[in-house]
């Protein structure tokens, strides 16, 4: 909502499952001149804490929400306006906003708030579709993750494309029993997913193990893949944090899990209680530890990656973007060195979950 140059800052929707967010801390003071991308406040969701950045330019005139407030999506957080708008107009704007604001109904009718399931390759896969562009983008998450890892990616990309995110077998809410956990087999699952939802060809965006899977899909099925974006991908070098992988497979306590998840990010504050709880809930589902062990054994031998797709990448002849965080402690950014056939960006100071840590930068590279 905006009126006479007065603009509402509202609770964003990060990811499909987000229904409300908790205000952690204002990062800008009243009177600050904001431009798009400037940090406004830290918000914690069920999944992860993150910094909310300004979408519009103007002076932050009013902080409406207070730290610890838990507010639904679209609720008024603050007001931006040019410096010359008088306070009475700001007050009137806030009054009008609050009077007309209706929190969104939790959409139970639609079932799982946008999630759907499809049978593909003998697995039941959970997925979410956003946008309706002619361009198709399929997001492939990494080891131990799920489609929620794209919480900050899918919606922005959906402004320009039809964007699909799904849970790999053994992950999220997809079937847990993994028959063959190899990267080659999982690449066939990607193709089976595309068949099942009716995608002829797509750009694949893969993170970590998902990067290797996306790349392998392109190598095995070049006609189905238009372009690739690989974020901190596996498969491009021998090094990998084997302790993380084995630790994650074995982990069954909050403390260990928190420590492990902090390995994934440069800023340990991003790992909140809810993320740890979510990962533990996932780990405790019947069959998950076995599935993860099978998949882990498919691409590393305990200390090193056993899969080398560098040659395949060089020979691909398709647009390939590679994005890495320089502070990645799972798969080192040095694997991007000397990579032939790819347009590489290393983002300084970010960890393995770079798409969650450097949302704006990664989305800009992905073309959102």
């Amino acid at each position: 909502m905006s009126k006479d140059g007065i603009i509402a800052i509202t609770m964003p929707k990060w990811g499909l499952s987000m229904q409300e967010g908790k205000v952690m801390e204002w990062l800008a003071e009243e009177g600050t001149e904001l431009k798009p991308g400037d940090p406004v406040m830290d918000i914690e969701t069920e999944k992860i804490a993150n910094t909310f950045e300004a979408l519009d330019a103007g002076v932050l005139r009013r902080k409406v929400a207070q730290p610890d407030d838990i507010l639904p999506i679209g609720a008024l957080l603050g007001v931006i306006a040019p410096a010359d708008v008088d306070d009475a107009a700001i007050d009137a704007f806030i009054t009008e906003f609050q009077a007309s604001y209706v929190p969104p109904e939790p959409d139970e009718e639609e079932g799982d708030g946008g999630w759907a399931f499809v049978e593909a390759g003998g697995y039941r896969l959970r997925y979410a579709k956003m946008g309706d562009g002619t361009r198709h983008v399929v997001l492939v998450h990494g080891f131990g993750g799920d489609a929620d890892r794209w919480a900050f990616t899918q919606e922005p990309l959906a402004a320009h494309a039809t964007v699909w995110a799904f849970d790999l077998p053994g992950h999220g809410q997809s079937s847990k029993a993994v028959r063959d956990g190899s990267v080659a087999a999982l690449a066939e699952v990607v193709v089976a997913f595309m068949d099942a939802v009716g995608i002829d060809s797509a750009e694949l965006v893969g993170h970590s193990l998902g990067g290797a899977i996306a790349l392998q899909t392109a190598i095995a099925h070049p006609d189905r893949v238009d372009a690739l974006a690989l974020i901190a991908p596996a498969g491009l070098g021998p090094d990998i944090n084997g302790d993380y992988l084995s630790g994650f497979v074995a982990c069954d306590s909050r403390k260990e899990m928190k420590k492990l998840l902090q390995e994934l990010v440069a800023d340990p504050e991003l790992v909140n209680r809810a993320l740890v709880a979510d990962m533990l809930q996932f780990k405790r589902i019947d069959g998950v530890p076995e599935a993860l062990a099978t998949i882990a054994a498919g691409f590393h031998d305990g200390t090193r990656q056993t899969l080398d797709l560098r040659g395949g990448l060089a020979a691909l002849g398709k647009p390939v973007k590679v994005i890495w965080g320089s502070a990645d402690r799972i798969i080192p950014a040095s694997h991007a060195d000397g990579l032939a056939g790819a347009d590489v960006t290393v983002l300084d100071g970010y960890g393995h979950l770079v798409q969650l840590e450097a949302v704006a930068e990664v989305n800009a590279i992905l073309g959102a």
């Binding site: 610890d68 139970e108 069954d252 306590s253 909050r254 909140n272 209680r273 809930q281 405790r284 589902i285």
Partner: protein, 336 residues
């Protein structure tokens, strides 16, 4: 994990999934089928509140009505557990422990130790606890402290649909005897529950809400009362951490002590009577192992030292509520 079901449905689903997975899982109790031998519908009740409804149609003889004869059938469940079955036995209300306690605390709890480590007694006793139903003194108590005091028993007090399913599956798979205390007021509570089977380990407290000023430890229904209080207090800038131990035996001492180390102030909320309760137990734990961290005396919010009254107004006074919890938190915050 967006599917929402009730606490009661989550219990039914856990039982259903474990019976499907493991043939040795059987259910027995008063009216758990409901209608055996009568001329009307079989499976008429499915438990006095319908928790086990639908299981008889799927599992037939593996779910059994019993006479109203708690010592007899609780003991039978214990005996069957030592003979290769995994019985889930329903003691309708925990108040009925009085007529069958021997089979639980002298038999089931002690076999492993008395028999030199050679017994395995994987029995689960599901039982309803708690006031709020106007069910008066003999159908409303929170007697889990009595079971918690017995070596050899594990005691679970789940507070949410997610927890009740995961903890019940864990209880059924667990090789030790487990007393599983379901708060009857929570049966209609809805929450997100995965469709798949999963477990929650015993002895791991849930940090339901993070906070930095005061630690509130609460169990079962009291978790929700504590959360209401914490939300109200947040508006005044008092940040409460709410910890749900989930199991009273084993007890996750570490999570409680670590929280108190950060906050220095603690309120323990327990719907049980105050003497020899979880409240006093946890207060003693903190006094002994976290004394140096305390900046104020430990506050306890419990039911009074009375039976549960029948009259609604009196029962409401009996049950710890958010206002009392809020007052206790403020008291510890204001302590000089």
């Amino acid at each position: 994990m967006a599917r929402k079901i009730t606490y009661q449905q989550a219990i039914n689903e856990a039982l259903d999934q474990e019976m499907a997975r493991d043939e040795s899982v059987i259910i027995m109790g008063e009216d758990v089928v409901g209608g055996t031998g009568a001329d009307g519908e079989m499976d008429a009740w499915g438990g006095v509140l319908g928790v086990t409804k639908g299981l008889w149609a799927k599992y037939g003889d593996r779910i059994m009505d019993t006479p109203i004869s708690e010592a007899g059938f609780v003991g039978a469940a214990v005996g069957a557990a030592t003979s290769g079955m995994r019985p889930v036995c329903e003691l309708m209300f925990i108040d009925f422990m009085g007529v069958c306690f021997d089979q639980i605390f002298n038999q089931a709890a002690k076999f492993r130790y008395m028999f030199g480590g050679k017994a395995r007694t994987p029995v689960v006793i599901r039982t309803m606890i708690g006031a709020g139903f106007r069910a008066a003194a003999q159908h409303s108590q929170c007697l889990y402290p009595m079971f918690t005091a017995v070596p050899g028993l594990k005691v679970v007090v789940p507070s949410s649909p997610y927890d009740v399913k995961g903890l019940l599956i864990q209880a059924i798979r667990d090789d030790d005897p487990v007393i599983f205390c379901e708060h009857k007021v929570l049966y209609t509570l809805e929450g997100e529950v995965p469709e798949e089977s999963y477990t929650i380990p015993f002895g791991e407290a849930n940090i339901v809400r993070e906070g930095k000023d005061v630690t509130i430890v609460a169990l079962g229904r009291m978790v929700h009362q504590a959360m209401s209080a914490a939300q109200a207090l947040a508006k005044d800038g008092i940040s409460c951490e709410v910890i749900d131990p989930r199991t009273t035996s084993p007890l996750d001492e570490e999570t409680i002590l670590e929280s108190v180390e950060e906050t220095g102030r603690v309120v323990v909320v327990d719907e049980a009577n105050p003497r020899c309760s979880m409240a006093t137990d946890i207060a003693a734990l903190i006094a002994q192992k976290g004394f140096g961290d305390l900046e104020a005396p430990v506050e306890l919010v419990t039911a009074p030292h009375t039976p549960v009254p029948f009259n609604g107004a009196l029962e409401d006074l009996y049950i710890p509520n958010p206002a009392k919890i809020e007052a206790a938190v403020r008291k510890t915050v204001e302590y000089a």
